[in-house]
């Protein structure tokens, strides 16, 4: 059953991505100022959205773990955070590439960029903490607390850095934020790609979940053997 769902989601993701790629690469006109590179936006911004949302979802799972003490939720929280971290990394890398192309530098200490980097570091710390603790219960408990603190903090980082005096990164362009700054034809594929990346995230989380539960099983078998 689980395999079936996973397969289905994977196929859906692949199909959607193919269709999106066709639209984005072939269907859209080049932008006047940026040539073809602007298309990176279709992965750059959705990756950030999926990543940041994922951190929040991870926090919710961590909260559920603390309430129920069921390790399932811990595994879910960890997988979600890990996958989100990967999406955040995609955002950072695509942004850097884009920045190299647009600004001539890989990195600028712009508010938006820095806040993403700081969020990434916070949750990299979360994963490192998980590595440093062997005992599953303690690991779950402590990392859940870090996830809570981290997410609240990430929110602060986001809010606060907006007020930071240096801004270089483009502001919001999506119409639901600005009331229509971007062309409809350019915007629609964007949302489809958000959906595609969401699907990918779910698939990846499911794969990680399975790996994690296998690891846990092996681990406990080994411990029984060594006891």
């Amino acid at each position: 059953m689980r395999n079936r769902i996973m397969l289905l989601l994977t196929v859906a993701f692949a199909a959607l991505l193919a269709w999106n790629l066709k639209n984005i690469l072939l269907g859209l006109p080049d932008e006047a100022r940026q040539d073809a590179v602007y298309r990176i936006l279709y992965f750059h911004a959705p990756a950030a959205m999926v990543g940041l949302t994922g951190f929040g979802v991870g926090m919710v799972f961590s909260g559920i773990y603390l309430a129920t003490k069921n390790l399932y939720w811990d595994t879910l929280a960890a997988s979600t955070t890990e996958v989100s971290l990967m999406f955040a990394a995609i955002n950072l890398v695509t942004g850097s590439i884009w920045g190299r192309q647009q600004w001539g530098v890989w990195w600028a200490w712009d508010a938006r960029l820095t806040s993403m980097l700081v969020c990434w570091l916070i949750f990299a710390g979360y994963l490192m903490l998980r590595r440093a603790i062997d005992e599953p219960d303690t690991r779950a408990r402590l990392s859940a607390v870090v996830s809570l603190f981290g997410t609240v903090n990430a929110w602060f980082v986001y809010k606060v850095i907006e007020w930071f005096p240096r801004l270089q990164h483009p502001g919001p362009v999506l119409s639901f934020r600005t009331g229509g700054k971007i062309d409809r034809a350019l915007e629609t594929p964007f949302y489809w790609n958000v959906l595609a990346l969401c699907l990918l995230a779910v698939v990846l989380v499911m794969i990680r979940m399975r790996q994690e539960s296998l690891t846990r099983e092996i681990d406990s078998l080994r411990r029984l053997a060594h006891a």
Partner: protein, 235 residues
């Protein structure tokens, strides 16, 4: 009345069950020797009883109430592997500190009494850092007793102690029992433990293998218990 009621306690470390369905009752005033091989789960159980860890399943009631409730914790005294004393404070300061935390009246006076009783009067203003191992252990006992606990939980109290220190500790345990304290004590020193105890609980790979009164067989031959209730096999 039961000092301690352990009911269906399980403890998982991840998927590994360190305690499996442990359940027994301890009547007030008894001295229980908690025995078991290395890794059986004695420390895990004692930490749960002391409220330092939570069971995954099951419940522990001490004099009828929850462990982590404040009034209950006032009735427990815990002495673990470490001595739980601050090296940078003096003997008196250590005792007064814990007296305050337990909210007893006139902690200074109580501290003084206990220093006398454990023979540490002479060094009461010495830093714990400078104490010998035997003195530290005695001060740790004083700390455990300072708030007149009714239930005492000891984890391997005799480890690394010499014969004289063990004798001092034993006499304090006996004295506490005479005052009506209930004592649960884990150790590998079977002979000492069994001589002191009224009851015995044996844990085997996380399960309760025996619990009940001390029997004459155990006194005669400390090895009897293990031979009877643990089948041998490659560990």
């Amino acid at each position: 009345m039961n000092a301690l009621e352990i009911d269906g306690v399980w403890k998982y470390f991840g998927d590994f069950p360190a305690l499996r369905d442990i359940g027994f009752k301890v009547t007030a005033g008894s001295v229980v020797a908690l025995l078991g091989r290395n890794g059986a789960g004695k420390t895990t159980l004692l930490r749960i009883l002391a409220g330092l860890a939570k069971p995954s399943k099951g419940s522990v009631r001490i004099y009828g109430s929850e462990v982590r409730e404040e009034p209950t914790r006032r009735r427990i005294g815990v002495l673990g592997h470490g001595i739980s004393l601050y090296d940078e404070l003096t003997a008196t300061e250590n005792l007064v500190l814990f007296g305050r935390l337990y909210g007893i009246d006139d902690p200074a006076k109580r501290a003084h009494q206990w220093l006398e009783r454990t023979g540490l009067d002479r060094v009461r203003d010495g830093l714990v850092r400078e104490f010998s191992r035997g003195m530290r252990q005695r001060l740790a006992v004083a700390r455990t007793f300072i708030h007149d606990p009714e239930l005492l939980l000891f984890d391997e109290p005799f480890t690394s102690l010499d014969d004289r220190a063990i004798a001092v500790l034993q006499s304090l345990v006996i004295e506490a029992q005479q005052r009506g304290c209930t004592i649960v004590m884990s150790t590998h020193q079977l002979r000492e433990a069994i001589e002191l105890s009224t009851h015995v609980a044996l844990i085997r790979k996380g399960q309760l293998a025996y619990s009940g009164e001390r029997r004459q067989e155990m006194l005669d031959d400390p090895g009897w218990l293990y031979r009877t209730f643990e089948e041998e096999g490659p560990s």
